[in-house]
């Protein structure tokens, strides 16, 4: 059954049809939440909340990309939670950010790789940690664009629909995010594969 038919059935109150859509998109929704929040538990909450909100708002969905619509809902759920944490610093992002905990990263499956030796695994683990730290160091609006486009592979048009900003803003935010990430990753140059240590070789 195609997506459009499932959406139509779900709009009529068919929860089974909606849950088939959930299963089709839950990985993308969860991963976006995980990279925005940087916290598996918060991502889990935001993902569940997003699907509940989506079901309740489904009758207002007027066509277009259902995936973009879902990603927009989960992005808003993440922004709401981040704003809430900002208002209540005791639950601030920094205090519960698990990115400094290598075990947490391993548990999240971040390091699934083809590395064979322990040294390679360790190097990839450290690189993965560095990448995540740099990503989390970005302002959230830059981070979201970088995740949507560079991590999840969406094009500018879809990213624009997800966060509801013009294409020019997507282009600008992405360039600035990449500049910041590149600068941050220079602090981990020893972890980068040889082909990524561009400056010394190319200058």
């Amino acid at each position: 059954m195609d997506e459009e038919a499932l959406i139509h059935m779900a709009q009529g109150g068919d929860l089974t049809a909606f849950n088939r859509l959930v299963l089709a998109y839950q990985i993308q929704v969860y991963n976006l939440a995980l990279r925005i929040m940087g916290d598996p538990h918060a991502a889990d909450d935001a993902t569940q909340e997003a699907f509940i909100s989506a079901y309740k708002a489904l009758k207002r969905f007027r066509g277009g990309s259902f995936r973009s619509w879902l990603l927009r809902i989960v992005t808003n759920a993440c922004y709401d939670e981040l704003r809430r944490r900002k208002r209540h610093p005791t639950l601030s992002f920094e205090t519960i950010n698990p990115l400094d905990d290598p075990e947490q990263q391993d548990a999240s499956g971040f390091l699934e790789s083809s590395a064979e030796s322990p040294e390679e695994l360790a190097a990839q683990s450290e690189l993965a940690e560095a990448l995540q730290k740099c990503l989390q160091g970005l302002p959230v609006e830059f981070r979201t664009v970088a995740v949507l486009i560079d991590v999840q592979g969406h094009d500018y048009q879809e990213a624009s629909q997800v966060i509801d900003v013009p294409l020019g803003t997507i282009k600008s935010r992405l360039a600035r995010a990449r500049l910041k990430l590149q600068e941050c990753l220079q602090g981990y140059r020893e972890l980068l594969p040889g082909k990524f240590r561009l400056e010394d070789e190319t200058v």
Partner: protein, 246 residues
């Protein structure tokens, strides 16, 4: 190491970033390509954007830790109304029955119940007298007790004529502590004069027999209903909170 390319105008950097994604308009792309042929900084900038994109893109997709499929409760569908409100009804019924049984207990055993506390005090203070009452009560046939109770009702003065002077000091203290009702005074006398007015004592003992015969049954019903009410109430409360959490 130099990063002069970072000094390129912001608009050029944005175009180079978009060019790396193939998202630049054809005319702008042509202009960038011309600059790339002549400017090392353009080339370095483009390389930096591409490498950063590739590195960030190496962050793997994580499988979802669980299914996020909605339950009916999450979706706000109350399909389980059939049994949940029935528990609320059962709870209300159990509470009503409990109230009725307690009410009946209080009304039917009121006079004896009212005299219970002082009587228990006296039993503690004069155990030998209380033992005698119990012994009498055990031997008293029910019919005889009822007859004697009737006689007592016809001759209330018999009880009232009991000499106050025979009260034990403990009895007086107990009497002073709380102004005793008529029933309480009778109870005092039950404790005070086990060997004196035998007819009155037997009448009181027969009432106690009735009391002790009925009381355990009512207590059992009350306890049973109380337990049922408590379990149902906790169950309904727990279900309500679980539903609210979504």
């Amino acid at each position: 190491m130099t990063e002069d390319w970072r000094n390129l105008p912001e608009r050029i950097l944005e175009d180079l970033s978009a060019y790396a994604d193939g998202e630049l308009a054809p005319e702008a792309s042509r202009q960038i390509e011309e600059q790339l042929r002549s400017s090392p900084d353009y080339r370095k900038a483009l390389q930096a954007f591409r490498q950063t994109k590739q590195l960030i893109g190496s962050i793997p997709e994580i499988r979802a830790p669980r299914s996020y499929a909605l339950t009916e409760e999450m979706a706000g569908i109350r399909s389980r109304r059939g049994w949940f409100p029935s528990r609320q009804f059962a709870t209300a019924l159990a509470a009503l029955m409990l109230a009725v049984v307690v009410g009946v207990d209080v009304l039917t055993t009121g006079p004896v119940g009212a005299g219970m506390s002082p009587e228990m005090e006296l039993r503690a203070q004069a155990p030998e007298a209380a033992d005698q009452i119990e012994a009498t009560a055990e031997l008293q046939p029910l019919e005889e007790a009822e007859v004697e109770m009737g006689q007592e009702a016809e001759e209330p003065s018999a009880a009232l004529q009991a000499p106050q002077g025979t009260a034990t000091p403990e009895g007086e203290i107990a009497g002073d502590m709380a102004a005793p009702t008529e029933a309480e005074e009778e109870s005092f006398r039950v404790g005070e004069e086990p060997l004196g007015l035998a007819g009155e004592s037997e009448a009181e003992a027969s009432r106690l027999t009735t009391f002790f015969a009925e009381r355990p049954l009512l207590r059992s019903i009350e306890l049973l209903l109380g337990a049922v009410f408590l379990v149902l109430a906790l169950s309904v409360l727990f279900r309500s909170r679980a539903a609210d959490s979504f």
